[in-house]
């Protein structure tokens, strides 16, 4: 594994992402084990970003991974942590501010 994380915890080179990288970033975010359900969220965020080049609204995430509404939360997985684990770039201050955390 050869990859870099910047000061804020974002993967520097998106191409270097794989699921092992994801697990290491997760540890950096304080998540010891990524469950299958968490990996579903992370894979969805990657595919959404590829299609739309944007941060998805959380209801869309939950709907697509077949979880109940408001599934992306502190108990399950923090949305910004999920985004970082998915190896995606800084979504901008306003997205961070408006994510319910």
């Amino acid at each position: 594994m050869n990859f870099n994380i910047d000061e804020e915890g974002y993967l520097v080179d998106a191409e270097s992402w794989d699921e092992d990288v994801a697990r290491t970033i997760a540890q950096n975010e304080g998540i010891d084990r990524l469950t299958d359900e968490m990996m579903d969220v992370i894979r969805f965020m990657r595919s959404y970003y590829r299609s739309y080049n944007s941060f998805p609204i959380l209801n869309t995430v939950c709907k697509n991974v077949h979880q109940p509404k408001e599934c992306v939360n502190e108990e399950f997985i923090d949305p910004l942590s999920a985004w970082k684990i998915a190896g995606l770039p800084d979504p901008g201050d306003e997205v961070i501010v408006y994510l319910k955390r």
Partner: protein
């Protein structure tokens, strides 16, 4: 492996550049778990003045790349001192009000205990008169005869790096809410002084990351949240599906529909965030039930305009000009603005001079109109029906947003910006409770996150600045069981959602006025 640890061990003591000296807090920023809000007692106590308790509150500096994209220098200019004074001279010339505010303060002290950031942080420099003094003493030094000759004896001071650092700190501890100006016998508007200070700082290469990054985002992608048109379309379609699931009806969230009667302009947070989206559903239900053809626009997918927060007229105009493109494309008859405080001030007070007149819009309607006025009119005419009993579990109070309360109006009568949102809440709920009169209407307290300060860099300031409002809220929570803080501003909604839990209050207590409309509206067949 991550190279985080590797670089950490090699790090040498860093020599700060002049720009970093200005941007670096004198005492370190607190971590979220080190921030302890005051206990909620229901009363707002005026603190004893302390020195430097808020000195750790400085937002991050904007990086050179984005400074340059906005036409500002990417680093502190070598001739920063002379450039700052020249810019101050330009602003004094351009804005006569600023010149007047410099000269007429008599230090009466009326404003000293009126600022939420002073009450919350206890730092003397957060008293409005002391904040303005940071600007005024430089003004005296370079623009008054007595200051030029007598210097410090006349209260004049040279602008040096240390003072510039204080500017960067304390002019980013003003949310430009203008509460102090209500109590000033001369009407001095400290917000305008803060805006001028930020404009001077940007001009010499000292910019704030949060506000400036967001303005770049609007220019490059179209809105503060960075949702491009394709993402916005997908988001609205997804939310439409949720709406159909909830109501069993096809209630639309149209985008870019040429020829729609109403163009709806709202903060992009309404598309993205919670509880904001609940109000968005409210707008959609109202239009649906009233049978109005309407649309959002991807060109004008942001009602907010952070150009105002940095006091830069050019940026304000450039952000606003996106609306002109939308009007030319959609060709609507009417223009309606969603729940957003500073956006309504800009729409009501500035759009006409920035990008108006709106000659292509129907003159029989206000150009623009606030969504609260629009909805209340439909209710009053019986065009839509609200079933208050659906909100019987809710005991609401209303938090006036500063920019709506003190920077704009609404409707046809003076004070409409106070009565219209309240009347709409009362039309949606059987119960309503008012907070202490010293904290509402024109005397309302800022939520603590306005004016371009809604960033986690300033979390401590945001928690402390929310204290007066939290005390007033806790009083009616205790006395009347109030369980809903009704809001008409995207910033207020985000600020309270984040800050309420710090005070031990559930975040779901904060929500929009149209969230109440959305749950009360009768979506049955019209008679």
């Amino acid at each position: 492996m991550a190279d985080k640890e590797a670089t950490a061990t090699e790090e040498e003591p860093k020599v700060l550049t002049d720009l970093e000296k200005v941007g670096e807090p004198i005492v370190p920023r607190k971590k979220p778990n080190e921030i302890h809000p005051d206990e909620l007692t229901g009363s707002i106590k005026i603190p004893k003045v302390q020195e430097g308790t808020a000195a750790g509150n400085k937002p991050y500096l904007c990086k050179s790349e984005n400074m340059e994209k906005l036409g500002f220098p990417g680093d502190l200019r070598e001739d920063w001192h002379d450039a700052a004074i020249a810019k101050m001279g330009d602003l004094l010339e351009k804005y006569k009000s600023l010149q007047v505010y410099m000269d007429i303060c008599v230090k009466c002290g009326s404003c000293t205990d009126k600022c939420h950031y002073f009450i919350g942080t206890e730092d003397g420099k957060n008293m409005p008169v002391a904040r303005a003094e940071l600007f005024r003493k430089v003004y005296r030094k370079y623009f008054t005869t007595e200051g030029k000759i007598l210097g410090k004896l006349a209260g004049a001071e040279k602008l040096d790096l240390e003072l510039l650092g204080e500017w960067y700190s304390y002019f980013h501890q003003c949310s430009q809410c203008r509460r102090c100006s209500v109590f000033c016998p001369y009407g001095i508007d400290t917000a305008e002084i803060s805006m001028a200070a930020r404009e001077i700082m940007d001009h010499i290469g000292v910019g704030q990351k949060y506000t400036n990054d967001i303005i770049v985002k609007v220019h490059e992608v179209g809105n503060n949240l960075g949702m491009n048109p394709k993402a916005l379309k997908a988001t609205l379609e997804s939310t439409e599906e949720d709406l159909e699931e909830e109501t069993g009806k096809k209630i639309r969230l149209p985008l870019d529909e040429v020829g729609a009667d109403v163009l709806m302009v709202t903060p992009s947070a309404d598309f993205f965030a919670s509880p904001h989206v609940e109000s968005l559903l409210g707008y959609a239900k109202v239009f649906h039930q009233a049978g109005i053809s309407w649309t959002f626009s991807s060109a004008a997918s942001e009602a907010g305009n952070f150009g105002m927060f940095i006091g830069n007229y050019g940026q304000m105009q450039k952000v606003a000009s996106r609306l002109t493109d939308a009007i030319n494309e959609i060709k609507p008859k009417r223009l309606i603005v969603g729940e957003c405080g500073h956006a309504w001030r800009i729409a009501y007070s500035f759009w006409n001079t920035l990008i108006g007149p709106f000659d292509s819009l129907d003159p029989n309607f206000k150009r623009p109109q606030h969504i609260c006025e629009y909805t209340l009119d439909l209710v009053n005419r019986g065009a839509i029906k609200l079933d208050k009993s659906k909100n019987d579990h809710i005991i609401p109070t209303f938090h006036d947003s500063c920019n709506v309360a003190r920077g704009a109006r609404m409707g046809d009568k003076p004070g409409g910006q106070f009565t219209i949102p309240r009347d709409l809440i009362k039309a949606s709920c059987n119960r309503y409770v008012e907070m202490d009169e010293e904290t509402i209407m024109e005397k309302t307290f800022c939520c603590g996150g306005g004016g371009g300060l809604l960033t986690d860099d300033l979390l401590e300031l945001r928690v402390k600045g929310a204290m007066p409002r939290m005390q007033a809220f806790s009083k009616v929570q205790e006395s009347h069981g109030v369980n809903f803080l009704a809001l008409i501003c995207a910033i207020c909604k985000a600020q309270f959602t984040k800050i309420l839990p710090k005070y031990g209050v559930g975040m779901d207590v904060a929500g929009g006025v149209h969230q109440l409309v959305a749950s009360a509206i009768d979506l049955g067949a019209k008679e």
